[in-house]
Amino acid sequence: MTSPVALTLPLRVKAAMYFRLLALQGSWNYETLLGTGIGFVMEPALRLLPGGVRGEQYRSALARESRYFNAHPYLAGVAVGALTRAELDGVDPTRIERFRTALAGPLGSVGDRLVWASWLPFCSLVAIGVFGAGGSALAVVGTFLLLYNAGHFLLRAWGLRTGLSRGLNVASALGNPVLRQGPLYIGRAAALMAGVALPLALQRIAGPGRMLVGGVITASLIGILLLARLRERAEGWRIALGVLAVFVLYSVLT
């Protein structure tokens, strides 16, 4: 299970896989989801199989790895690395298929919680806070992109490296404290950030006038309480669209 083949992948192959990982979802569709993307990312490593690109092992592995698969795109590197190692180690195809099926769910839910529901909102709030504190366009955009992508690119690299080094034993890596406890701590940091950043940003957008800012914040808090009661039943952006449409119509007609 732990032959050195995958560990000694040439650097150019690892680099090609990492770069392709960024384009993992290029052919995302409702039938195979990430599947063809997984095959696309693994392809440079599969060329190392006996017989090369014209060999039977290469073709059957590429076909197998291009079938249905789903995961969070940033954590898909874990699967890509593990599957690459399994293919290069010559693991039985039936076992690889079972492994693919078992891994998809956890990689999706862990990634969604950590990235989409924690890291992304946190980074957005930090950038909004920089804006509220009077930051320039460059400072706001630079802060957001540097902060967010520090986490993004590191997570992708960690996933690929972990998958390649652990192979089919990769499940234990999902117990990593960052993946398990990260959403809790990032969530708290995001809540703290929201308390500072949102009022600061509202102040800057609404402009000078203490009464005006006080009114805006009071109205916002009441609205948030009402919206919070609706939770998943209401889509906030659709409400915003409706409110703005009515307001624009009113302002144009009166």
């Binding site: 995302w28 696309f40 592995a61 969604d112 909004i128 320039s136 366009a137 992508n149 914040i217 952006w237």
Partner: protein
């Protein structure tokens, strides 16, 4: 705005639209970035930033979970940033009219992503046999076709939205009736409510989260006192 003026903006929309899902998902498509870049593209990054922040607050409500349908903020950010940065900030209707145009673009662009994904699935049927044979050429061309179509999608959405909304926004701003302060307040309160509701939806299950939020509000209060 004519087609020649809309084309460079369309190219920016195409690149940022590609970032949403296909490549490289580095979140340059988030409205706070996209709108600022678009504003900078026409020489007014601060204008782009302002509407970008408002759109970002609203975008907090939509998280790109897997196969779910969600608004596409890359092209919408470009359209919003360009339209707002082109207006005089003293015009009271500029912010609400542009924001409405950007939200409509986000909605339409989200629908275009669904169409794209269905189109790729249809195309999959015609190459399935070759993929099952392990054809490298078939896989590469299929994958690159998906990315190219996504690039084209972003460009088409952005150019179409610019051609439709630029004259409409200009007309709305010209005949706007409400006063400046009220116009800003409606936009700001709406964005704040959506952002607050979205954050509660995401983080309400985190233990002690309300205390952390209140601590943040206290820190904001301290900054107010410090400024006096």
């Amino acid at each position: 705005m004519n087609l020649a003026q809309a084309l460079p903006i369309g190219l920016l929309g195409a690149l940022l639209g590609l970032d949403v899902v296909s490549f490289p998902q580095a979140m340059i498509s988030r409205p706070i970035v996209a709108a600022t870049l678009a504003g900078g593209f026409i020489g007014n990054p601060q204008g782009g930033l302002l509407i970008g922040v408002v759109l970002e607050m609203i975008a907090l409500d939509t998280l790109p979970f897997g196969a779910s349908r969600y608004p596409e903020w890359g092209s919408a950010g470009v359209v919003g940033g360009t339209l707002y940065a082109a207006q005089s900030p003293s015009m009271p209707g500029a912010l609400p009219a542009t924001l409405l145009a950007a939200l409509l673009t986000a909605s339409i662009s989200g629908w275009s992503m669904v169409v794209l994904r269905r189109t790729i699935a249809v195309r999959l049927e015609s190459v399935r046999d070759r993929l099952e044979e392990g054809s490298r050429d078939a896989l590469h061309s299929f994958h690159l076709m998906g990315m190219s179509l996504d690039l084209l999608r972003g460009a088409l959405v952005t150019i179409t939205a610019m051609l439709i909304f630029a004259p409409i926004v200009r007309a709305i701003v010209a005949i706007w009736g409400a006063e400046s302060a009220a116009s800003h307040v409606v936009v700001v309160v709406t964005a704040a409510i959506v952002a607050g509701g979205a954050l509660w939806k995401v983080f309400h299950s985190v233990r002690h989260v309300l205390w952390f939020f209140l601590a943040g509000v206290a820190m904001w209060g301290a900054t107010l006192v410090g400024r006096r």
